[in-house]
């Protein structure tokens, strides 16, 4: 892109080819009013508010669509132009029937702003009589309210829904003076293709679109914005909590265009999922259980009890008798302190966090192949990928904003290969969709790689120079023919060939995967095999090309980075390494614990076996999140002492001896690390209810009570201690990430952070090929259990649902468990749409509603796990990955009958 010199209002400025006048003016802080333009969507030049004079043009042009050319002379603010804009505004005001005095958008409305800037006469504004909102497509929606009286027909909502979200829920209907926004056939928004992202609200320049529940809770001008990071998924969207300065409540969530990584976009959970913060079900006082009943207690008493009991158990039975479960919902600082308390006050390596439930195989698998267990590329690079290989991942639902980046790439013509037993959004839009049987991933990838080598599509130079152990890996592949794979996976052989060729030849290609890969008894091997595929084709170590596990929880990357894993310390420094141990012994002034330690799935087994006796559980609910619920409860009940730190009374907390009230994410400071390794701030926006304290403070109190004093003035101090001990975080501090987060590795204070990994050399030196053999899932179907059940997440809810289900807009969309089944299976079983069915596995049964269609393949079933009263994990199999002990949530044999 060449530089172009132009003058705007007599000032010399330089732009780039393809830039519009409006973009260039904005870059140079020259304000041009505009109503129908939004940088996220294509300009259309409809409102004519942005008219400017260009020398040589007979008439004024619209700055939002007119591209600059060399030596252009532009005037943006002549009397004539101002008069034209004023006329545009007057026309809009004749149709506008609303009053700023009662409008929620008061203070953040472009129409109002320009009416003032252009001094629109009172007469014009008065001429507009006010009118009550008319019934329309948004009537009845708990999320969004549309008021056609305030709509200026700029089309931003319609276009963002179509171009960015690709939900196509909205349209203009009617013509001439009767045009308004609606859905197809005026159906209710909730019944349309709308995914409740609220992008339309974010695009609306007036108060015509607004969050329903935010209405009347404070006009924009009395809201204070607090920048923070979304508490839900690993995308780590930046958002502003709009807090009413009088009521001290969060009124709405907005996001600023141009913020990293989400550019003002949010998904339903980010925009509409905050209500749990102000829920009256929040815990507000410490609780101690006496005679099977909880009673309220003071902090001092509760902390003293916890400290005493944990210490007693530890002293009496040794380091394997207590365990610490940290949480990836919490901050880096809190995770750092949890592994610290475990190894100092607790004297044990029994420390884990929820990644064992999800991405532990990623951490282990990619670390063994490449030397670093994280997403190799950045979110910003997604839009430039040319061939996607998406396997076991449903990005438009589970990582919606990364999904939007993928949609951008698709709009630019990217190719898409999707391997998924379900017809997800990406699968439906794929060039090749391989709908393989759950649990046959390694058969598929092995056959693809065999085919790639046979046809000489692989990157021989890359393999020779940058990788090792190729020969034994190659030997192993020879058994895996395409035909054999087609049979085992239940798909057409040609599709596998096509997928292999497309991926190998992409310029560049990139792999994206999620829990469809990891939640198997061969989870780590699945991950290693994807690493094999990338190395074989040289599709790694480049911009927009690599192996990208999309991390599930907001801080699951950080939780692992902080060393809340039995075998590693912060920054994946190995416990087994004596130099590392010595460093931490010095820093923490302790003797390093000598036991090996285990994973949460071990904790539960050991509790059942009477080895584990004391359990400190931070913000996790294993009763709902671990497989085979009945067994989990039975095991936990055997523990002598359980302490839970929670924001709500959870199913696990009900079994606890002490429950301590913690602050939510909106009530504390700290950092989260998102999926692309970006360390980002969260900030306190509102006060905690009752006596709730931040988790990190509670951990310090408990540690002190156990005899290892810990105290910090703030989260930033904790971070600094961690960074001083963690090379990959060494250059990061709260100050440096105040505006934009930094991506690790960032070893020193001048380092700019790292966008993509393994550039000239793998972190471990050479990339290591692993020889992977296909193994069947732990459970296979038989006569009694003829179907395969997989579990997963939906767009609308999050994990066990105790946060998302507190939001009315979300509850309205999805509040009950369901099971997806193929219509051919439904027909055989005589099940009709909406029927209740009983789903049974070897471990339990639950009754839910049937959703019938072709989203799953014949013989397959799918269920979400978000619903406390219909817990899917009664059904799932407690069979584990041989390396990381992650459960096989994706495959269990099941039977269905009409209830």
């Amino acid at each position: 892109m060449a530089d172009i010199k132009v003058t705007i209002n007599g000032k010399n400025v330089t732009g780039k080819t393809g830039q519009t006048i409006l973009e260039l003016a904005k870059e140079n802080k020259i304000k041009i009013p505009h109503l129908c333009n939004d940088r996220r969507i294509k300009p259309v030049g409809a409102c004519r508010m942005c008219l400017v004079d260009v020398e040589g043009q007979r008439n004024p042009v619209t700055a939002c669509t007119f591209e600059i050319t060399p030596d252009m002379v532009i005037q943006t603010d002549t009397d004539e132009i101002r008069q034209l804009r004023k006329t545009v505004l007057e026309l809009l005001f004749y149709e506008h029937r609303g009053s700023c005095a009662t409008c929620d958008a008061n203070g953040d409305c472009k129409l109002q702003r320009y009416a003032y800037d252009y001094q629109i006469s009172e007469d014009v504004i008065k001429a507009a009589e006010t009118a009550q909102p008319k019934e329309n497509y948004s009537t009845g929606s708990e999320a969004i309210e549309y008021d056609s009286n305030k709509c200026i027909r700029c089309g931003r909502c319609v276009r963002i829904c179509e171009e960015v979200q690709m939900a196509n829920a909205l349209t203009f209907k009617g013509r001439a003076s009767n045009v308004e926004v609606s859905t197809a056939f005026d159906i209710a928004l909730i019944d349309s293709t709308c995914v409740i992202c609220g992008q339309c609200i974010s695009a609306c320049p007036t108060g015509a679109l607004y969050e329903k529940y935010s209405k009347g809770k404070g006009q924009t001008k009395e809201l204070k914005k607090v920048r923070t990071t979304c508490p839900y998924c690993g995308v780590g969207c930046q958002m502003d909590l709009n807090v009413n300065t009088t009521t001290k409540k969060i009124v709405r969530v907005t996001s600023e265009k141009s913020c990293v990584p989400n550019d003002g976009n949010l998904c339903v959970k980010g925009r509409f999922g905050f209500h749990y913060v102000h829920s009256d079900k929040r815990l507000t006082k410490p609780l101690i259980k006496e005679n099977g009943q909880f009673r309220e207690a003071e902090w001092d008493e509760a902390i003293a009890l916890v400290g005493k009991r944990l210490k007693e158990i530890r002293d009496k039975y040794g380091p394997d008798s207590i365990a610490f479960l940290s949480s990836c919902r919490c901050t880096n600082e809190e995770n750092y302190l949890m592994q610290k308390i475990a190894r100092t006050a607790g004297g044990t390596n029994n420390i884990d966090q929820c990644a064992t439930t999800c991405h532990a195989p990623t951490v282990a698998g990619l670390a063994s192949s490449f030397g670093s267990g994280a997403m190799t590329n950045s979110i910003d690079e997604v839009k430039d990928v040319q061939t996607f290989f998406i396997i076991g991942s449903n990005p438009t639902e589970a990582h919606p904003i990364i999904g939007l980046e993928m949609k951008k790439a698709l709009a630019k013509g990217a190719k898409l290969v999707v391997c998924d037993p379900r017809k997800t959004w990406v699968a439906k839009h794929a060039d090749v969709h391989i709908q393989h049987k759950p649990g046959t991933d390694n058969m598929l990838t092995n056959a693809m790689m065999n085919y790639i080598i046979e046809n000489d599509f692989h990157a021989k130079e890359f393999v020779a120079n940058r990788c090792e152990d190729f020969e034994q890996f190659r030997e192993n592949l020879k058994d895996y023919t395409i035909e054999k794979a087609a049979k085992e996976c239940g798909v057409d052989a040609d599709l596998i060939r096509k997928a292999a060729e497309m991926y190998a030849k992409g310029t560049p290609s990139s792999i994206f995967y999620t829990l469809g890969i990891t939640e198997h008894t061969c989870g780590t091997e699945n991950v290693q095999n994807l690493a094999n595929l990338a190395m074989l084709c040289g599709q790694i170590g480049k911009p927009s090309s690599g192996v990208n596990p999309l991390r599930g929880q907001n801080n699951v990357q950080g939780g692992c980075d902080m060393g809340a894993i039995y075998s590693v310390l912060p920054g994946y420094q190995k416990v087994a390494d004596p130099v590392v141990r010595e460093k931490f012994e010095k820093a923490w002034d302790i003797k390093f614990p000598t036991n090996i330690g285990g994973r949460v799935t071990d904790f539960i087994e050991q509790a059942g076996d009477g080895i584990l006796r004391g359990f400190y559980c931070l913000g996790e609910d294993p009763v709902l999140s671990e497989p085979n619920q009945a067994k989990v409860i039975e095991s936990l009940k055997k523990l002598e002492f359980i302490i839970c730190q929670e924001i709500f009374m959870s199913e696990t907390a009900k079994l606890a001896d002490v429950v301590l009230p913690a602050t939510s994410w909106a009530e504390k400071n700290g950092t989260f690390t998102n999926s692309e390794r970006r360390v980002q701030r969260i900030r306190k926006a509102v006060d905690a209810p009752g006596q709730a304290k931040p988790d990190w403070q509670i951990t310090c109190l408990i540690s002190t009570a156990m005899g290892y004093p810990m105290s910090y003035n703030n989260a930033s101090e904790v971070f600094d201690e961690m960074a001083s001990l963690t090379p990959s975080y060494g250059g990061i501090s709260f100050d440096r990430i105040d505006k934009i987060g930094l991506q690790w590795p960032c070893p020193d204070p001048d380092h700019p952070g790292t966008g993509y990994l393994h550039k000239d050399k793998f972190v471990r030196g050479k990339g290591l090929f692993h020889k992977i053999k296909f193994r069947h899932p732990a459970e296979t179907t038989d006569e009694d259990y003829p179907l395969i059940l997989s579990t997963g997440r939906t767009l609308y809810n999050y994990n066990i649902g105790n946060m998302t289900q507190k939001s009315k807009p979300i509850r309205q969309k999805q509040s009950r468990n369901f099971i997806e089944m193929h219509f051919s299976d439904a027909e055989k079983l005589g099940v009709k749409k909406g029927d209740k069915v009983n789903v049974r596995t070897r471990r339990g049964d639950i009754t839910v509603e049937a959703v019938i269609g072709d989203k799953v393949r014949p013989g397959a079933l799918w269920m979400p796990f978000h619903f406390i009263d219909q817990p899917t994990n009664k059904l799932t199999n407690d069979a584990f990955d041989n390396i990381t002990r992650t459960a096989e949530y994706k495959v269990c044999a099941a039977a269905v009958k009409k209830a």
């Binding site: 409809a46 829920a169 009617g174 859905t183 056939f185």
Partner: protein, 200 residues
């Protein structure tokens, strides 16, 4: 095997229409299709949108074909039944919302079942000053329905429109695409009577 929800409407008609248009697409850009929207108000945002999206979805039938598809469907079913439109959306990737935008933009499309004969009376300025109102009233009473309604026997629908583009012949009434100029209340009634007789 594609999943087909149960419908109480004969969906095969629309499948045939789409098949035909798809074939026409393959045999280069067919002239009928191109003609079909020459001269239409193509600057409408809805129509422009429909094209853009249909194309992006990569279907063989694109948003460009939307108007002729809608016309053919209306011809075949007498109106535009929703399940049929949903099917079009599913097969072509043209979102239902875009179709709705286009449908509501034009007078010619009906989303509800419509009479066999369609009577349109002009209430444009020229017709109004030359007695259009009387014509309209006479049609209403002859058929026993109001503006926008359909007779119980599904034989006639009537509606008023702004200008039929034949002001020189005002007042104007159009029955099933046949223009009747210089109408009076009595002549309008005769035209309808004639049709009623033909229908038995």
């Amino acid at each position: 095997m594609a999943y087909k929800p149960e419908l109480d409407i004969d969906i095969s008609l629309v499948e045939a229409i789409l098949d035909r248009i798809e074939q026409a697409r393959q045999v280069s850009s067919s002239p009928e299709v191109a003609d079909a929207h020459q001269g239409r108000v193509s600057s409408s945002p809805q129509v422009a949108d429909a094209r853009r999206v249909g194309g992006a979805a990569g279907g063989k039938v694109s948003g460009d074909d939307l108007i002729p598809i809608l016309q053919e469907i209306q011809e075949a079913y007498g109106y535009l039944p929703r399940p049929v439109l949903d099917r079009v959306s599913e097969r072509t990737g043209i979102p239902a919302s875009r179709m709705y935008g286009v449908i509501t933009f034009y007078d010619q499309f009906y989303l509800e079942p419509h009479g066999k004969h369609n009577v349109r009376c002009c209430r444009g300025t020229a017709c109004h000053v030359s007695g259009g109102k009387k014509v309209i009233n006479s049609v209403k009473s002859a058929l026993g329905i109001e503006d926008g309604e359909t007779t119980g026997d599904m034989l006639f629908s009537m509606e008023t429109v702004t200008c039929l583009g034949a002001c020189a012949l005002s007042p104007v009434m159009v029955v099933d695409n046949t223009y009747h100029g210089r109408m009076s209340a009595r002549r309008a009634e005769q035209v309808l009577q004639q049709l009623k007789v033909e229908e038995g």
